[in-house]
């Protein structure tokens, strides 16, 4: 069953000085419930645009997105979003951040409280519920962001480089947490990342996108996410197949970057 269907999406932005940029061209893909898709590509390949269209923040120039048969026309609680950073509400405690979705939907506190407590434990913040956001480290803040998204019980979770601003060690721990949450909750996840390693580790499916116009370059099905659940991710990275794939994809992206640079030199 194709849960999330992205059907020949195109997106063209008009530039203020005239002319336009083709951010996406004819992108199609289907995601089944519970799949984890990592999207990788050089800057300008339209991966964030793609995510923003699925989230409903942007309307595509052509094509459509359907979730469970319903066409996406705007943002909605069934598609949760986790941002890189700075999307938490500093004026609220950790607990109130997590319960924001249910609170806005008008769910009674008695019903929300156990969910929030449960999520605090799941992301390892059981002692930090009453702290304010600015009292937490960057990694803890991203844990709150994940919990806040889960509290709303969305069908799809869209992650826009959620670990991009973290230091290497915290990032590794958080990758484990993302895998754990994915397995435990069975959510469909689209994860955008700049890191080839992260895409390989987390992506059950991996989409490499190419720029100008933004399009799907290659798609992989990978075993590493399954391998990594509940295990030390460093062991996964030691797999020979992992290293092989990493080199392959790094080379691919390297070539794309080279091509962009070359084209810029030509026009200049």
């Amino acid at each position: 069953m194709g849960d999330l269907v992205i059907d020949s999406l195109s997106m063209r932005f008009d530039l203020p000085k005239g002319g336009s940029v083709q951010a996406l061209k004819n992108v199609s893909l289907e995601l089944a419930k519970g799949e984890l898709l990592a999207v990788l590509g050089p800057s300008g390949c339209g991966k964030t645009t793609l995510l923003n269209i699925v989230a409903g923040f942007l309307a595509p120039t052509a094509g459509k997105v359907t979730l469970n048969g319903k066409t996406v026309t705007g943002p909605g609680p069934e598609r949760g979003m986790v941002f890189q950073q700075g999307a938490l509400f500093e004026w609220m405690s950790v607990r109130r951040n997590i319960s924001f979705g249910p609170d806005m939907a008008g769910h009674p506190a008695s019903q929300t409280r156990p969910i929030v407590e449960n999520l605090l434990r799941t992301v390892g913040l059981q002692d930090f519920g009453d702290k304010m956001i600015y009292e937490l480290s960057g990694g803890m803040q991203q844990r709150v962001a994940l919990a806040r998204c889960l509290a709303n019980d969305p069908d799809v979770i869209l992650m826009d480089e959620p670990l991009g601003a973290l230091d290497a060690l915290t990032r590794e721990k958080m990758q484990g947490l993302v895998l754990k949450l994915w397995k435990e909750t069975g959510k469909t996840i689209i994860l955008i990342t700049h890191s080839v390693e992260e895409a390989l580790l987390l992506g059950e499916r991996l989409l490499v996108m190419a720029p100008r116009p933004g399009r799907i370059h290659k798609e992989y099905r990978l075993p590493f996410a399954e391998m990594g659940v509940g295990r030390d991710l460093r062991l996964v990275k030691k797999e020979p197949e992992f290293a092989e794939r990493r080199e392959e994809i790094l080379g691919m992206i390297w070539d794309m970057e080279e091509e962009i640079m070359g084209r810029q030199e030509e026009t200049a």
Partner: protein, 422 residues
């Protein structure tokens, strides 16, 4: 100039003394004393509280020293006060020469003193004089008027204390200068010293006692608290009305392009107009009563609050709004739970600026025209040379302005603890 040099000397000496004291205290060098790594890092330069205390003490010490105050043991030389005399030599028409003495009593203005006594034995044509002179003042003496034959043309003064003098010349006596005018009179100026005359700068204790006096008796039939209360009340009224209108207007400008387009020209034009420039127009339209003052302060606060609310709204991170949308919040919920709290730090910054501007504006407006208020008090006192009230008023205006800012900062810390930590 002398005052400045003394101040600079106190600054330097206090610094050296402090460094010396600190060096004897710690022998270990920590990272702050070896400021090679952190040099130029602004956060490492926290105000030295010792310096602040010494600075305030130094200001009062200089003030006291130059006004002969009781609060300082050391004073710069004051004006000559007491009895003095000099002897003049005159030649009369007959060519005879005679001496007489001018006795002076220099007193502090405000005290009642009798004339000094002249010596009893009077021989010759020149007769002793007795004078009273207020400290810092000068007096014109005409020795010829009581001298026998002094009104004759060929009578002339030829010397003072044995030093020859001619019209236009100046001679020093023991405690001052004597200048002979072209008409032959003597202008006597006792030494003024370095201290300031109370009508220019009263001593600190005079200001404090004046505070006690007008705090109990009031100034111009209005108590001091009422003067200050009126000023403060006008500021608060203007600021509150300005906020009530300015903040929603700023929100509307931040959220709707129609509002923004409509009010942008007005706000951008009015923002650089100093509120002081509006005072004449406000007086023409509304007179000098409370209404005009509050409207002026309302206008002073309005643009600042509008702009800060607008900046607070436009400064919201789009990812916060997107996050709220994808958590299922409606537009109104986002406005109430995301945009409004997100704009509070900006609004508080604006409120602090607005309160400062309003306080400055109210004092200025009262200087121009008012029947009560802190500004009216000082401008009125200045017309009567009541310098102590002027200085007192300036100090109170400063303290209240500073107090307002401190209160706003405390409120900010308490209400928007996340400010600057987004």
């Amino acid at each position: 100039m002398i005052v400045f040099l003394i101040y600079a000397a106190i600054f330097g000496l206090a610094y050296l003394a402090y460094r010396f004291w600190e060096r004897t205290r710690h022998h270990l060098h920590d990272f702050t004393s070896l400021k090679t790594v952190t040099f130029g890092d602004e956060s490492t330069v926290a105000p030295n509280r010792f310096a602040s205390v010494i600075s305030i003490i130094a200001l009062f010490a200089i003030w006291g020293a130059f006004t002969g105050s009781v609060i300082t043991p050391l004073h710069v030389p004051g004006p000559f006060v007491g009895d003095a005399s000099f002897t003049y030599t005159a030649r009369n028409a007959a060519g005879e020469i005679d001496d007489a003495t001018v006795y002076m009593r220099v007193y502090r203005v405000g005290e009642e003193v009798p004339l000094p006594e002249t010596s009893a034995d009077q021989t010759g044509f020149a007769v002793d004089d007795a004078l009273k002179i207020g400290a810092w003042r000068s007096v014109l003496s005409r020795p010829n008027e009581n001298d026998v034959g002094g009104n004759e043309d060929s009578y002339s003064l030829i010397a003072i204390d044995g030093q020859p003098i001619a019209p236009g010349g100046t001679v020093r006596f023991s405690d001052g200068d004597v200048t002979m005018t072209s008409k032959g009179s003597l202008s006597i100026k006792p030494d003024k010293g370095w201290q300031m005359e109370p009508i220019w700068l009263p001593a600190p204790e005079a200001v404090v006692s004046r505070l006690g006096e007008i705090a109990t008796d009031g100034y111009k039939n209005v108590s001091l608290w009422e003067h200050l209360g009126y000023s403060l009340g006008r500021v608060i009224a203007g600021f509150v009305i300005g906020s009530i209108i300015g903040i929603p207007l700023g929100y509307a400008m931040g959220l709707s392009n129609w509002f923004r387009g409509w009010f942008d020209p007005i706000v951008e034009f009015m923002r650089p107009v100093p509120p002081l420039a509006l005072i004449p127009l406000i007086i023409i339209w509304f007179g000098i009563g409370e209404e005009g003052k509050v409207i002026l302060l309302f206008l002073a606060a309005l643009w600042i609050m509008t702009i800060s609310a607008r900046a607070g709204v436009s400064g919201v991170r789009i990812s916060k709004v997107h996050a709220a949308y994808s958590l299922g919040a409606s537009k109104w919920q986002i406005l109430r739970h995301v945009i409004v709290p997100n704009s509070l730090p900006e609004i508080f910054t604006g409120a602090r600026v607005a309160m400062g501007v309003c306080w400055g504006t109210v004092v200025a407006a009262e200087l121009v025209a008012a029947d009560r208020g802190a500004g009216m008090m000082i401008v009125n006192a200045s017309k009567f040379q009541l310098t102590d009230i002027v200085i007192l008023g300036i100090i109170l205006i400063g303290i209240i302005g500073y107090g307002i800012d401190i209160l706003m900062r405390i409120a900010e810390k308490w209400l928007v603890p996340w400010k600057g930590r987004g």
